[in-house]
C-alpha cells in the first residue's frame, strides 16, 4: 500500500479545495498558491468540472421577483454612463484605428505607473495598450512572464455598432492566431491565455459578429496589433 503522503499531491489538495473541506490556514495557503500557480488553477478547474454534475439533480425553485429587481439596480449602480455620440461614423473607417502603436508606446509609461500603483502585489510587469477608434487608450492588457493569464481593463472602449464585438487574439511563433477573449465594455477582467506569453508574442484585435464569434481565426477586420512592453 502506498504511504498516505504519496497520494496527497496537488491534485488531491485541489479536490479538497473544490469539495470545500480545506479549512483555516491550509485553505488560505492554498488560495495564495492558487493566485500564482497556473497548473494548480487547472487542477481546480478540472475538479469543478468533475464534481459539477452533482448539481444537476437539484430541483429548480423560482426565486422571488425582488431578487431580480435588486440585481438590476445593482447593475445600474455599477455602470457609469458613457458618451456615445458621433462615434459610429468614425467607426465606418476602420483604418482610422490601425497602426497606432507608436502613440500607444508613449502612453505605456503613464499607464504602467497607474497599474503599478493600483496593483503592486500582482507583478503584472508587461503591458499592451489597445487603442480605441478615437486614437485614445481603449483597453490596457497586463501580463507577466510564465503566467497564463492577462488582466484586461477597459479604459475608454470603442463604441461598437449593435451586434459587433472586439475579439483579442494571440499569435504563436508560427504566425497562427488563437482567441483570448472578448474585450470588455467596462471593468477589469482576467482572461486565460492559450499559451505562456513572452515579449515576442503579437496580439491582435478583430471586429466580429457577436452572435458568431470565430474560434479558429479572425473573420472580421483586424483593427489593432501590438506587442507586450515590459515596464
Amino acid at each position: 500500500m502506498m504511504p498516505e503522503n504519496e497520494l496527497y499531491d496537488n491534485t488531491t489538495r485541489a479536490g479538497e479545495y473544490v469539495l470545500g473541506t480545506l479549512q483555516g490556514e491550509e485553505r488560505v495557503a492554498f488560495e495564495n498558491q492558487l493566485q500564482r500557480d497556473i497548473r494548480l488553477q487547472e487542477e481546480v478547474d478540472a475538479w469543478q468540472q468533475r464534481l459539477a454534475p452533482m448539481l444537476e439533480g437539484i430541483d429548480p425553485v423560482s426565486p422571488p421577483e425582488a431578487v431580480w429587481q435588486a440585481v438590476e439596480s445593482r447593475l445600474t449602480d455599477l455602470q457609469q454612463p458613457t458618451q456615445t455620440s458621433g462615434q459610429t461614423s468614425l467607426w465606418d473607417s476602420l483604418n482610422f484605428w490601425r497602426n497606432l502603436g507608436m502613440v500607444a508606446a508613449t502612453l505605456v509609461l503613464a499607464f504602467a505607473v497607474t497599474l503599478m500603483i493600483n496593483q503592486p502585489e500582482t507583478g503584472m510587469n508587461n503591458v499592451l495598450v489597445v487603442m480605441n477608434d478615437q486614437d485614445r487608450t481603449g483597453w490596457v492588457v497586463s501580463a507577466k512572464a510564465d503566467y497564463g493569464f492577462v488582466r484586461v481593463s477597459a479604459v475608454e472602449p470603442t463604441q461598437l455598432p449593435a451586434g459587433k464585438a472586439c475579439q483579442l487574439w494571440m499569435e504563436d511563433q508560427h504566425g497562427n492566431l488563437h482567441p483570448v477573449g472578448i474585450l470588455p465594455h467596462d471593468g477589469r477582467h482576467v482572461m486565460s491565455l492559450p499559451m505562456m506569453p513572452n515579449s515576442n508574442n503579437m496580439f491582435k484585435v478583430s471586429v466580429e459578429e457577436m452572435d458568431d464569434m470565430p474560434t479558429e481565426k479572425p473573420r472580421g477586420e483586424i483593427v489593432f496589433e501590438g506587442r507586450l512592453t515590459e515596464i
Binding site: W68, E72, I182
Partner: protein, 197 residues
C-alpha cells in the same frame, strides 16, 4: 436510443446554444440578454444556493451576488471548458459556500464556539437526479463505487461546505479518518472518471 431521449438531448443542446449566445452578449454589456439569461436560469441557480444555505434570505442575497458575478465574468466563460449552466451553477455554489463560511465566522466571533447548529438539514441529497447528462451518469456510477462512508463524506462536503473538522463531528468520526477517507475517496473518484471517459 428512444425518440423521447433524442428530443430531450436536442432541447438541451438548443438551450445550451442559446445560453452561450446570451453569455457572449452579456460580455458586451447587453442588459436585455442578461435579463433573459436570468429568466432562463434563476430557478435552477436558486435551487442550488437554497440547497446549500437552507435559509431563504441568505439564498436570495447569495443569488444576487452570483448573478452580479456572472455578469462581470461573462467574458471569461469558455464554451470548450464547461456547458453554460454548469459554469453558472459552479459560480452559484462557490458564492453560497463563501457566504456560508462568512456567516460561520460571524457566528463564531459572536457566540464563542457554537457554530451554526441548523446548518446541516436532513433533506435528502440530490443524487438520484444526477443521470440527466453523460457526465452525470458517469459521476453517479463512480460515486456508487465508493464505500458508503466515503460517498457520504464527499456528498456532504460538496453540498454543505463542511470542513474536515465539521465532517468529523457531524459523522462522529475521528479527524484523521475523515481526512484519509476524503483523500482516498477523491483519488478513487478521479481515477474512475478518467478510466471511464
Amino acid at each position: 436510443m428512444a425518440n423521447g431521449e433524442i428530443d430531450q438531448q436536442d432541447a438541451i443542446k438548443q438551450r445550451n446554444q442559446e445560453l452561450e449566445a446570451l453569455l457572449a452578449a452579456c460580455a458586451l454589456n447587453d442588459r436585455k440578454a442578461f435579463a433573459r439569461l436570468y429568466r432562463m436560469t434563476s430557478a435552477k441557480l436558486y435551487g442550488v444556493v437554497l440547497r446549500i444555505l437552507v435559509r431563504d434570505e441568505w439564498a436570495q442575497d447569495c443569488l444576487q451576488d452570483a448573478y452580479i458575478k456572472i455578469w462581470s465574468n461573462a467574458d471569461s466563460y469558455r464554451t470548450y471548458l464547461a456547458a453554460p449552466l454548469t459554469w453558472m451553477s459552479t459560480i452559484a455554489r462557490n458564492q453560497a459556500l463563501d457566504l456560508l463560511r462568512k456567516r460561520k465566522r460571524e457566528v463564531m466571533e459572536a457566540d464563542g464556539d457554537k457554530g451554526l447548529p441548523e446548518q446541516v438539514d436532513d433533506a435528502p441529497l440530490p443524487l438520484d437526479g444526477l443521470s440527466k447528462s453523460d457526465e452525470g451518469r458517469r459521476l453517479e456510477t463512480c460515486l456508487e463505487a465508493l464505500k458508503a462512508q466515503q460517498r457520504q463524506m464527499v456528498v456532504l462536503a460538496y453540498f454543505k461546505g463542511l470542513t474536515h473538522d465539521e465532517l468529523a463531528s457531524h459523522t462522529d468520526t475521528p479527524l484523521g479518518t475523515v481526512k484519509s477517507w476524503i483523500r482516498r475517496g477523491l483519488n478513487q473518484l478521479r481515477r474512475c472518471l478518467e478510466n471511464d471517459a
